[in-house]
């Protein structure tokens, strides 16, 4: 069923069989499901897709979506139609650090385009591409609600604001040396606040 549902992408049954949330992630998912009335567990889909994305390498493969469908006892197509609607879900593999530069009005007024050009040059990639080492992807984003601190970029759960060229250079160096980033649903991140 799933292979048809997810269109031309090949559905790998063997890969699907290996997918499993970590215990912490599964506990988090069950807590989220408990927030909704009996029988309305589908409501937990958006938050659980964030968890799946963090658990399964930063993107949602057909197998990952199938797994989420099983957890929520819904059809895989219901997961796919949601995952393909919202911009935060990646339907293809991304770099470890996805740099998303806001490009809407206030950020543009404050030089967002030049920030994008600067990153393109520094990482030697274009918007929509990933560096060869798989470390960085560059995306442009629509208004991220940081207009008073423009220009800005988001990487995982972190907002980097009032950007200058120097600041962008430092952000890239920091991520490179840490080799890991705080993702949208990195469960450890919850405890660092």
């Amino acid at each position: 069923m799933s292979s048809q549902v997810h269109g031309t992408q090949n559905f790998d049954k063997a890969k699907r069989a290996t997918l499993k949330f970590s215990d912490v992630a599964m506990q988090e998912a069950q807590t989220i499901i408990s927030h909704y009335p009996e029988g309305k567990q589908k409501s937990a889909l958006l938050p659980i897709l964030h968890i799946a994305q963090a658990e399964f390498g930063g993107w949602l493969s057909p197998e990952a979506m199938d797994y989420v469908a099983d957890i929520l006892k819904i059809k895989p197509i219901e997961v796919f139609e949601v995952a393909s609607f919202y911009t935060m879900y990646n339907l293809k593999p991304m770099g470890k650090c996805v740099l998303e530069v806001c490009q809407t009005s206030s950020c543009w007024l404050n030089g967002a385009e030049d920030i994008v050009k600067h990153i393109e040059k520094k990482l030697n990639i274009k918007v929509g591409e990933t560096t060869k080492d798989g470390m960085f992807s560059l995306k442009v984003a629509e208004c991220l609600g940081s207009c008073g601190t423009a220009p800005m970029l988001q990487c995982g759960a972190s907002y980097h604001e009032n950007l200058t060229y120097d600041k962008v250079d430092k952000i890239i160096e920091d991520y490179r040396s840490e080799g890991k980033l705080k993702s949208y649903t990195d469960l450890d991140y919850k405890n660092t606040l």
Binding site: T87, S106, A150
Partner: protein
């Protein structure tokens, strides 16, 4: 110095914690409402206050609450719209990040008025770290007994949960938000039925903006009449304004409604004037979807009266010479700004965010973006200005939700007030961006 009701404590160290928030009078509205008032009395105070929805539409909150259907044995819900995505708007983020308990307190008091046993705070997915701050505050509130079973021994029980979205502007539209809360694509619903009758899971639901819910706290504490004394006419109380663009002091400001626009832009207390000693060219006063106004019309109405920060004064002159207060996303542009290019960023945004249900919006936003791109790459003709006008006029009023209007209005206003600039770009067959961003070279401390 204007009166502040929402973020008066924003500089107090530790105000994000329950302990400090409580020490500064936090949760008094819950005590007052649950112990000394009936739910209807709370709603009456909100009606008396004249509070209007702070998300952008400006609909009277008390009236919205009174529409809530209350059939026996059916759950009712309060849903907080924290999907703040209107370009130029970042006030809800500030409020939730700095004083999360103000929102939670408002959620409890409002839920009591509505008879809602459960409420949800739907936060846009990109505000992930803000969601964590609110969740942490919720946990504190549960531990202290402000949430959960039998709050303050009054018999009122309430649960409040956070849901994060997935990145979609359209989910700020209340029925799209409810679809998203149900785990579906954010496609707005056809109304009626309105959420007050059939909202989340078909149950009666009230959807309110973060700032609206936070404003219920001072209204209950000090009374609706006291709140209504602030402001002018039907614009009562205070409003959070997100100020951005070419100003000296961008940020979130709480103003008393009725403040002159000129004072807001130029006084040191607020925006502090235009950056780099430049002149102001235009302002988008209420988030990207409201009509842009040139300097002379934002400072004074067409009748020559000073423009005030109120729903009515900003709308004076209709869309011909006026605009809207909207969400309070106040974007200021200096003399070097290209209106054509700024409009392009807005139109690209709406094209990206159109949910695709209605053809006029789905196709129209794409066409408008394409035509504006022609201006930027020097291939536009003068007739493209008329074409742009024609397309926007065919979107308004022809879509299920107001995203169509939100996409059409900025185009109409930019052409209405800056047509010559579009014609100049088309005639010169060349787009020169003269904006300068010397800020980028400065090392921020």
């Amino acid at each position: 110095m204007g009166k502040k009701l929402l973020i008066h404590n924003d500089k107090v160290p530790g105000i994000a914690t329950l302990e400090v928030y409580r020490a500064h009078g936090g949760y008094a509205s819950v005590e007052k409402a649950l112990k000394t008032m009936t739910p209807d009395q709370v709603t009456d105070e909100v009606k008396k206050s004249g509070l209007r929805g702070r998300g952008g539409a400006g609909f009277p909150t008390g009236l919205k609450w009174s529409f809530l259907a209350k059939p026996e044995g059916v759950n009712r819900y309060l849903v907080c719209n924290a999907d703040e995505s209107e370009p130029g708007t970042f006030k809800d983020r500030y409020l939730m990040e700095v004083i999360p308990h103000a929102l939670i307190e408002g959620m409890i008091t409002s839920s009591y008025a509505l008879g809602a046993k459960t409420s949800y705070i739907y936060i846009r997915g990109e505000y992930f770290y803000v969601a964590r701050i609110v969740e942490k505050a919720l946990a504190e509130a549960y531990a202290a007994g402000w949430l959960g079973q039998n709050i303050l021994g009054t018999g009122f029980s309430h649960d409040c949960y956070v849901q994060v979205g997935g990145g979609a502007y359209i989910c700020g539209e209340e029925t799209a938000l409810l679809e998203s809360l149900e785990g579906k694509r954010g496609n707005p619903r056809i109304k009626p039925p309105f959420p007050a009758v059939a909202g989340v899971w078909g149950c009666p639901t009230v959807v309110n903006n973060v700032e609206t819910i936070a404003a219920v706290v001072p209204i209950v504490n000090e009374g609706g009449e006291a709140y209504a004394k602030i402001g002018i006419g039907k614009s009562t109380g205070t409003k959070l304004i997100s100020a951005s663009g070419h100003i000296n002091k961008p940020g979130v400001y709480e103003i008393e409604l009725g403040l002159p626009v000129e004072e807001f832009i130029y006084s040191e207390e607020y925006c502090g004037g235009i950056r780099n000693g430049k002149k102001m060219k235009a302002v988008v006063a209420g988030g990207s979807s409201v009509p842009i106004l040139p300097t002379e019309l934002i400072l004074k109405t067409a009748k020559g009266e000073p423009r005030l920060m109120t729903y009515e004064s900003l709308a004076d002159g209709g869309f011909v010479t006026g605009t809207m207060l909207g969400s309070g996303g106040f974007i200021v542009m200096d003399e070097d700004t290209s209106i054509v290019k700024n409009l392009f960023t807005f139109t690209r945004f709406y094209h990206h965010e159109s949910c695709g249900q209605c053809s006029p919006c789905r196709e129209g936003t794409g066409w408008m973006e394409k035509i504006l791109k022609k201006f930027l790459n020097g291939t536009a003709n003068e007739s493209d200005v008329d074409l742009l006008w024609d397309i926007q006029s065919k979107i308004e009023g022809k879509t299920i939700c107001p995203l169509g209007e939100a996409a059409a209005w900025p185009v109409a206003a930019a052409i209405r007030h800056f047509k010559q600039e579009f014609l100049d770009v088309a005639r010169s067959k060349k787009f020169v961006d003269v904006s300068h961003y010397n800020k980028l070279y400065k090392v921020n401390a």
